[in-house]
C-alpha cells in the first residue's frame, strides 16, 4: 500500500473511470498536454488521446454547455474549471440549462463539473473562492466536497457514474497536504448523499466539510488534550443533497452543534443546516446552534488579511469551548 495524496487519489479516480468507460471524456482549459494547472490530468492526453482530453478556449459557458449537449447524447463528460472561481462564468449554463434539463424536458444530463476551490493559499479574491452556496440553492444539481484522499477518489468515481449533474469541489489546500493509504486494485466509490463520522465524541458536535474538516479535527484533538472534551466531528462530504439523517444523529447524540465552514457567513450552508436542525431536532438542543465561518468580505491576498478573514483552528477551539460551557 502506498501513501496517496488527495490530488493523486482524484487523478486515480478519473483515470480509472476513463479506462472503465469510454463514454467518459475530459474538457477544460490546459487539461491536455499541460495536464491541468494543478496537474490533475497529467499524462491523460498521452494515454487517452486528444479526442477524450480536450483543450478548450477560455470559455466556461461553452465548456459546460458542450458537456451538457454531449451528456444528452449518452456521453459522461467531466468539465474542469481551472479554478472554481471561474464557474461563475458558466452560472447561467449550470443553473438554467443543466439543472432544469431533466425536470423541464426529460433530458438526461449526467455530467461532472470539477475544479480547485478554497483559500489558505494566498490566492487572493479570484483564486480562493468557495462556490457551494451559489449552486446549493438550485434544484437539479448535486454538490460533493471531499476532505480525504479516499473520498477524493471515491466521490469523483461516484460523480461520474451518477445520472444527475454533479459539481465536484476539490480543495487545493488539501491537494498535496493530505495523504492516505489506498490499497491498489480496490474499487473506491463513495456514495453520494452520505456524510461520514470523522471523530466520535459525546460532548459537542462539529459539522464541517472540505479544508475546515481538518481544522475541526485539529481543534477536537486540542480540546480533548487541554479541556477533556469529547468532540464529535461530522464530515458532510455531499452538500447537495445534505445527509439529514447523519446530521440529526449527531445532534441527538451530543445536543450541541457548531457548524464550521470556510465559505462566508451570510447565505452560507451553515444557515440551512441550522434551520433543518431547528425543524427536526429542536427539543434535543441544549444550546444555540453556532457558526464558525469566514467573515463576510471578499477574500484578500495579504497573509495577515487572509488569515484574519478565514476561520482558523484557534477560532474553532474557542467557539467550541464557549458552546461546551453554555
Amino acid at each position: 500500500m502506498a501513501d496517496v495524496t488527495y490530488l493523486e487519489a482524484l487523478r486515480q479516480g478519473l483515470w480509472e473511470e476513463m479506462e472503465r468507460d469510454d463514454r467518459v471524456f475530459i474538457l477544460g482549459e490546459d487539461v491536455g498536454i499541460y495536464g491541468g494547472a494543478f496537474k490533475v490530468t497529467e499524462g491523460f492526453v498521452k494515454r487517452f488521446g486528444e479526442a477524450r482530453v480536450i483543450d478548450t478556449p477560455i470559455s466556461e459557458a461553452a465548456i459546460v454547455g458542450a458537456a451538457a449537449g454531449a451528456a444528452h447524447m449518452g456521453m459522461r463528460p467531466v468539465a474542469e474549471m481551472q479554478f472554481i472561481d471561474f464557474i461563475s462564468c458558466a452560472y447561467d449554463m449550470l443553473t438554467n440549462y443543466v439543472a432544469t434539463a431533466r425536470y423541464r424536458a426529460g433530458l438526461p444530463t449526467p455530467l461532472v463539473v470539477r475544479g480547485p476551490c478554497g483559500g489558505y493559499v494566498r490566492g487572493g479574491p479570484f483564486h480562493s473562492q468557495n462556490v457551494e452556496a451559489a449552486f446549493f440553492h438550485t434544484p437539479g444539481l448535486k454538490i460533493v466536497y471531499p476532505a480525504t484522499a479516499r473520498d477524493a477518489k471515491g466521490l469523483i468515481k461516484a460523480s461520474i457514474r451518477d445520472d444527475d449533474p454533479v459539481i465536484y469541489l476539490e480543495h487545493k489546500w488539501l491537494y498535496r497536504r493530505i495523504k492516505e493509504q489506498l490499497p491498489e486494485g480496490e474499487e473506491v466509490v463513495t456514495p453520494i448523499g452520505e456524510a461520514r463520522l470523522a471523530r466520535e465524541g459525546g460532548d459537542l458536535s462539529i459539522i464541517s466539510y472540505g479544508a475546515t474538516l481538518w481544522k475541526s479535527l485539529e481543534a477536537a484533538e486540542q480540546l480533548a488534550r487541554d479541556d477533556g472534551l469529547a468532540v464529535e466531528v461530522l464530515d458532510l462530504r455531499t452538500l447537495l443533497p445534505l445527509d439529514d439523517a447523519a446530521i440529526m444523529r449527531t445532534v441527538k447524540h451530543t445536543n450541541k452543534v457548531l457548524i464550521v465552514h470556510e465559505d462566508t457567513r451570510t447565505g452560507g450552508l451553515a444557515g440551512e443546516i441550522a434551520a433543518r436542525i431547528n425543524e427536526q431536532a429542536f427539543e434535543w438542543l441544549d444550546g444555540p446552534i453556532m457558526r464558525v465561518t469566514a467573515h463576510d468580505v471578499p477574500l484578500p491576498y495579504a497573509p495577515t488579511l487572509e488569515d484574519f478573514v478565514l476561520p482558523q483552528t484557534e477560532d474553532i477551539v474557542k467557539a467550541a469551548r464557549w458552546l461546551a460551557a453554555y
Binding site: 470559455s59 458542450a66 449537449g69 454531449a70 444528452h72 456521453m75 426529460g106
Partner: protein
C-alpha cells in the same frame, strides 16, 4: 400526392434536386405552420393558451426551408429551434397536437405542463427546444455535434439564433469552440429586424450578421430568408459540407417578424408602412405559391387540396386535446433528479 398537374415540358427544372412531391411537402409544412398559429391565436383570445403566444408570421419560410434540408428520422440529423421556428419543429416530425398541448399546458403535453410552447425535445428523433436564455443552445449543440464527431457518426446539427441572441456571450463562446473543433454544425442567423422592440442598429455595429461571425474562420453567407427554396438550397449545401468534415457554417437569413414579440405586444415601435410592405410584397408563403404556380410545378387545385387537409388536421388536433386535463398538482415534485425520484412534499401542506 395527386399528380394532376405534372410538370410540363415548358416548366423550368426544379432546383436543388427536389422532386415535385417534396415541393408540395414544403408547401404543406408552410401552410401547417401558419394555420396552426392562427388556431393558437384563436385559442389565445379565448384564454385557453396559458401565458404568451409567440408567432412566426412572416418567418415560416426560413424555418421550413432550412429544416427540410436535414436528414430526418431516428438517430439522423439534429435540430435546435428557437420559439419562432415552429415550422422547423413540424418538419422534424412534431405533431400539431403536441404543440397545442404545450401551449395549453396539458398533462399529456411533451413536458407534462412543465414548459411552454416549443421548449421541448426528443433526443431520438433529433430535436431539442431552446431555453429562454438566448445563445445557450449554441454551446449545447456544439456538445451534441462533438459527440457525432467523437463517434464518427455522419450526422449534422442545425441551430438557430436571432439578430438579438447573437449579442450573448454564450453564442460567441459556443460558435468559437465549435469552429475550433471543426464540428458538423450549421448555424442559421435570423435577421428578422426586431429583438423584442430593439432594432438591429441598437444591437450591433455591422451591417450583416454574416459579418459578425467571419472572424471565427467559418464560411458565412447571407440568403433571402423569405425565398424558401433559396434557404433550402443554402442549408442543404452547408449541411452536406459540414457532414463532409468541413466544419461550422453560418447562414444569415433575412426576414421580418410581422407580429409583436408575443401576442400582448402591439408593435407600436414598428413603422406601419414597413410592416405593410413586408406583408404585401414579401410574404414567404405567397412568394412560394407564386413560384410553384408560375413555374408549373403545382396548380391552385393542388394547393387548395393541401389547405383543406391541413385545416381538417388542425381541427381534429384541437378537438383531440382541448378538453384534456391540466397536470395533477403534486406531479410537480417528480424528476428533478434521476435519484431521488421526487422532492418531498412540504409539511405545511398536510396541516
Amino acid at each position: 400526392m395527386a399528380s394532376r398537374s405534372a410538370p410540363t415540358t415548358q416548366s423550368p427544372p426544379i432546383p436543388a434536386g427536389l422532386s415535385r412531391d417534396q415541393l408540395l411537402q414544403v408547401y404543406r409544412y408552410l401552410r401547417l405552420t401558419r394555420t396552426l398559429e392562427e388556431r393558437l391565436t384563436a385559442l389565445y383570445r379565448q384564454t385557453k393558451v396559458v401565458g404568451g403566444l409567440f408567432r412566426s408570421l412572416g418567418q415560416e419560410g426560413e424555418s421550413v426551408g432550412s429544416a427540410f434540408a436535414l436528414e430526418r428520422g431516428q438517430h439522423r440529423d439534429f435540430l435546435s429551434p428557437l420559439t419562432r421556428n415552429l415550422g422547423a419543429m413540424l418538419v422534424m416530425g412534431v405533431e400539431p397536437v403536441q404543440i397545442l398541448r404545450q401551449y395549453m399546458a396539458k398533462a399529456g403535453s411533451p413536458t407534462q405542463g412543465r414548459e411552454m410552447n416549443i421548449h421541448f425535445g426528443d433526443l431520438e428523433r433529433g430535436y431539442l427546444g431552446q431555453i429562454s436564455h438566448l445563445g445557450d443552445m449554441i454551446p449545447v449543440m456544439a456538445g451534441i455535434t462533438l459527440t457525432f464527431k467523437m463517434r464518427g457518426e455522419p450526422r449534422v446539427g442545425l441551430v438557430y439564433i436571432g439578430d438579438g441572441g447573437m449579442s450573448t456571450g454564450a453564442f460567441h463562446e459556443g460558435i468559437n469552440f465549435a469552429a475550433v473543433q471543426r464540428l458538423p454544425l450549421v448555424v442559421i442567423g435570423e435577421y428578422n429586424h426586431w429583438a423584442y422592440s430593439t432594432p438591429p442598429a441598437r444591437q450591433f455595429a455591422v451591417t450583416r450578421l454574416a459579418d459578425r461571425v467571419k472572424g471565427y474562420g467559418i464560411p458565412a453567407i447571407t440568403v433571402d430568408g423569405n425565398d424558401v427554396l433559396a434557404v433550402y438550397e443554402a442549408t442543404k449545401d452547408a449541411v452536406e459540407r459540414a457532414r463532409g468534415g468541413k466544419g461550422v457554417h453560418f447562414i444569415e437569413v433575412t426576414t421580418y417578424r410581422r407580429k409583436g414579440h408575443a401576442e400582448h405586444d402591439d408593435q407600436h415601435y414598428v413603422p406601419k408602412e414597413e410592416l405593410e410592405r413586408w406583408a404585401r410584397e414579401n410574404d414567404p408563403i405567397d412568394r412560394y405559391v407564386k413560384r410553384l404556380v408560375d413555374s408549373g410545378w403545382a396548380d391552385d387545385a393542388d394547393l387548395k387540396d393541401i389547405d383543406e387537409r391541413v385545416g381538417v388536421e388542425i381541427d381534429e388536433s384541437t378537438d383531440a386535446c382541448e378538453g384534456e386535463p391540466l397536470p395533477a398538482p403534486d406531479s410537480s415534485l417528480t424528476a428533478v433528479y434521476a435519484r431521488p425520484g421526487a422532492a418531498p412534499r412540504l409539511w405545511f401542506r398536510d396541516l
